[in-house]
């Protein structure tokens, strides 16, 4: 069956061991997590996980329900790229000599929309934000031309294009259960 890249978003209480509870669900179904990013959300005390994986809609639906079922998970849902504005960030370490021999740094900056985070006699650290394909393409091109000493890419962060903030809706919705 055709596999698609899905982005799962999970809002949770900030409790010890939650990541383990979530990853167990992937492990049991032998699913590989492509990227994972965890950080505090806009609401104090609530954490947000963004997980991407290649799978089918049938499987992602079941996985999301099983995540949602864990006690300390507030809300879990999935999207495809069409529904999302998403971004990853990549860092590239390049030997300064090589970069200078290659020619203009200005050209590089204009071509890739990159930032220079650090520059010294030994190496330069470049930063590029973009989709996977964009950061990957730059990595491949730099590897061929100037060589890349180190390369690291973050997990995806994403926000939905819909007007509704699902977490606040959900928090509103559960008030009726509290008495």
């Amino acid at each position: 069956m055709e596999k698609t890249l899905y982005t799962i978003t999970v809002f949770s209480e900030n409790t010890v061991g939650l990541l383990g509870q979530i990853t167990i669900i992937f492990t049991r179904r032998a699913l590989n997590i492509e990227t994972l990013s965890v950080s505090p959300s806009a609401i104090k005390g609530i954490h947000k996980f963004t997980i991407t994986l290649f799978t089918t809609q049938d499987v992602v639906e079941k996985v999301v329900k099983q995540i949602d079922k864990r006690i300390d998970i507030l809300k879990s849902y999935y999207n495809t790229d069409d529904d999302l504005v998403h971004q990853e960030i990549a860092l590239y370490k390049i030997a300064t000599d090589n970069l200078l021999q290659q020619g203009s740094i200005e050209e590089l900056i204009r071509k890739y929309h990159i930032r220079v985070l650090e520059m010294n006699a030994d190496f330069v650290v470049l930063q590029k934000a973009g989709h996977y394909a964009e950061t990957q393409q730059m990595f491949e091109e730099l590897s061929e031309t100037v060589g890349v000493l180190q390369f690291i890419r973050s997990g995806r962060v994403a926000i939905t294009k819909s007007k509704v903030e699902r977490l606040s809706d959900m928090l509103e919705g559960i008030k009726k259960y509290q008495n």
Binding site: G17, I24, I71, L74, I174, Q178, N179
Partner: protein
């Protein structure tokens, strides 16, 4: 105490000693049962919970005690049994250092619990215990593990206990959705050949009466899963029997004949469905479940209904048009007749040859007026006990369904008797499973728990032997057992019993067993090559049923 706990099954040890020391002063209020193994404590708590509907409680120490408890915790998870297991843990300062009897209990138990939490300071005990009981018993019930470090047990604090009634990230019983109810009712009203599948959800939500009303109003025949057994009385006219691998022929065949299939509080386990590609493809599926992760998990529902059966059944019933499906219901009979002729007659009413499991079970069911709590171990006898016991009240079959844990029988029966002391508790086991938790005879002796234990002894691991005969060319690899003198072992534990190998002795032996409320062991030598039929082979279609010769 604040949660109304009056019975605890446990086993003391180093890291839980401060708690046991405190328990010493409460021996009049809390009945602590000292089992002989922590696995026994967990199964006993399960038996107690399943029969009473209350939360079963276990109290054990750290390390090996916690790992011994894991089997029962996993069993409770798969069978949705409310249970709180409290494990001791090394002092907080020693956590993560591989200290003596330290094990990562929360890490190990997370995949097999509804919630697992480590308490490292006394201030958190009241909060965590309240939350644990709330989570264990609410919604789809399940086991909770609380791992309490030794320092937290020693600290003295002002104890303020507030019961937990709300967790914002957890909505145990969702409000029902009227459009789901309407769609379900519309589909059921349009059905010519409706068929209902009854699972444990009905029992867990105490919706037996609501189920009966629902079925009677629209005249819907119904069958039950292993854990849904006894939700309907055996003699209820719309009760068409047991589903699945060793279930009755009618319900399995009719699953692929009906036009609307209504699943109530059940999860389409593979032992019920067989090959999903050939499962009820002709039917519209209505699926009622409290756990939304079960909806569309194994079988895609045309009308998923999220909610407790206690709420959803009456809501749907209110929209149902009274109906009669006399001809459709009559179609079950031909299958019942065929099953009686090919299987039941030989199994339950033999007149010659060796004793069969079915006849023992049937005789005991009759002798108890079909009122006993039947507890089983796992294997051939389990399927036979489910098939041939009759039930006249709910919560009457306590068995390990999802995990299929051999060794469940003896301790679960102890717990069941503690949870329903006024009822007769009959425990069927095989010669294999009995020896997996045989040490609990010590608990039965010490507490004088009046369970009636029956070993259906075929000197084999019978279910595996059956599969070897059917699917492995009769290569009986390590299934033959040389057994001890079980009655002599029982007598060493001061438990009365006898061994029966002749049909003519059976009635008298059963009468002797049931004459009082004391523990008793009846060992019956049954036919060695007995087979459980009907059988839907693993992975076969639900209507592909073998009936034997």
């Amino acid at each position: 105490m604040h949660e109304g706990v009056d019975t605890i099954f446990g086993y003391p040890g180093g890291a839980i000693m401060p708690t046991f020391d405190a328990l010493y002063d409460y021996d009049k209020k809390v009945n602590h049962i000292l089992t002989r193994h922590e696995q026994g404590a967990t199964h006993a708590a399960q038996g107690y919970a399943r029969v009473s509907g209350k939360v079963g409680v276990c109290l054990v120490t750290s390390g090996p005690a916690a790992t011994n408890a894991i089997t029962g915790i996993a069993d409770a998870m798969l069978d949705s049994t409310p249970m709180v297991v409290i494990t001791g843990q090394v002092g907080a300062a020693l956590l993560g250092t591989d200290a003596f009897q330290e094990i990562d209990v929360v890490g190990i138990s997370q995949p097999i619990t509804k919630w697992a939490y480590q308490i490292r300071r006394a201030e958190d005990i009241a909060w965590a215990v309240a939350r644990a009981f709330y989570i264990a018993r609410s919604g789809r019930p399940g086991p909770v593990v609380l791992d309490i470090t030794k320092n937290a047990q020693f600290q003295e604090i002002d104890f303020i206990y507030e019961p937990c009634t709300f967790i914002r990230s957890y909505i145990p019983t969702p409000e029902i959705n009227p459009s789901q109810i309407e769609l379900a009712a519309e589909i059921i009203n349009s059905a010519k050949k409706p068929f209902a599948l009854v699972g444990q959800g009905v029992v867990l939500s105490n919706a037996e009466a609501e189920l009966k009303e629902f079925l009677e109003k629209a005249d819907i025949p119904a069958a039950w899963t292993l854990l849904g057994a006894s939700a309907m009385d055996t003699d209820f006219s719309l009760n068409k029997g047991f589903l699945g691998m060793h279930g009755n022929v009618g319900p399995n065949i009719m699953t692929n004949q009906c036009d609307v299939l209504i699943a109530i509080g059940m999860r389409f386990d593979d032992r019920v469905t067989g090959d999903l590609n050939h499962y009820a493809k002709q039917a519209k599926i209505v699926h009622l479940d409290i756990d939304s992760a079960e909806l569309n998990k194994n079988v895609k529902a045309d009308a998923p209904v999220h909610g407790s059966a206690k709420d959803t059944l009456p809501a749907i019933s209110a929209l149902l048009k009274p109906a009669k499906h006399t001809d459709w219901i009559a179609e079950f009979k031909q299958h019942d007749d065929r099953e009686f002729e090919k299987v039941i007659d030989r199994e339950v009413y033999p007149t010659s040859g060796e004793i069969t499991m079915g006849e023992v079970i049937y005789k005991i069911s009759e002798a108890t007026g079909n009122k006993a709590v039947v507890v089983t171990d796992v294997g051939q006898h389990q399927m036979m006990a489910t098939r041939y016991s009759k039930f006249s009240q709910t919560r009457s079959l306590i068995t390990s369904g999802g995990l299929g844990t051999m060794g469940f029988g003896i301790p679960a029966a102890m717990g069941a008797k503690m949870g329903a002391p006024e009822r007769t508790v009959i425990m069927f086991s095989g010669d294999g499973g009995f020896q997996m938790t045989i040490q609990e005879l010590g608990t039965i002796m010490q507490e004088q728990i009046g369970v009636k234990m029956i070993i259906l002894n075929n000197h084999f691991l019978g279910m595996v032997r059956q599969w070897q005969e059917m699917f492995f060319e009769e290569r009986y690899s390590f299934t033959k057992m040389q057994n001890p003198d079980f009655v002599a072992i029982a007598k060493a534990y001061k438990i009365d019993g006898q061994n029966v190998s002749e049909r003519s002795e059976l009635d008298a032996a059963i009468a002797d067993m049931l004459k009082d409320d004391k523990p008793y062991l009846l060992v019956v030598d049954v036919e060695m090559k007995g087979m459980v039929y009907p059988m839907m082979p693993a992975g076969a279609a639900v209507d592909n049923i073998l009936l034997g010769e």
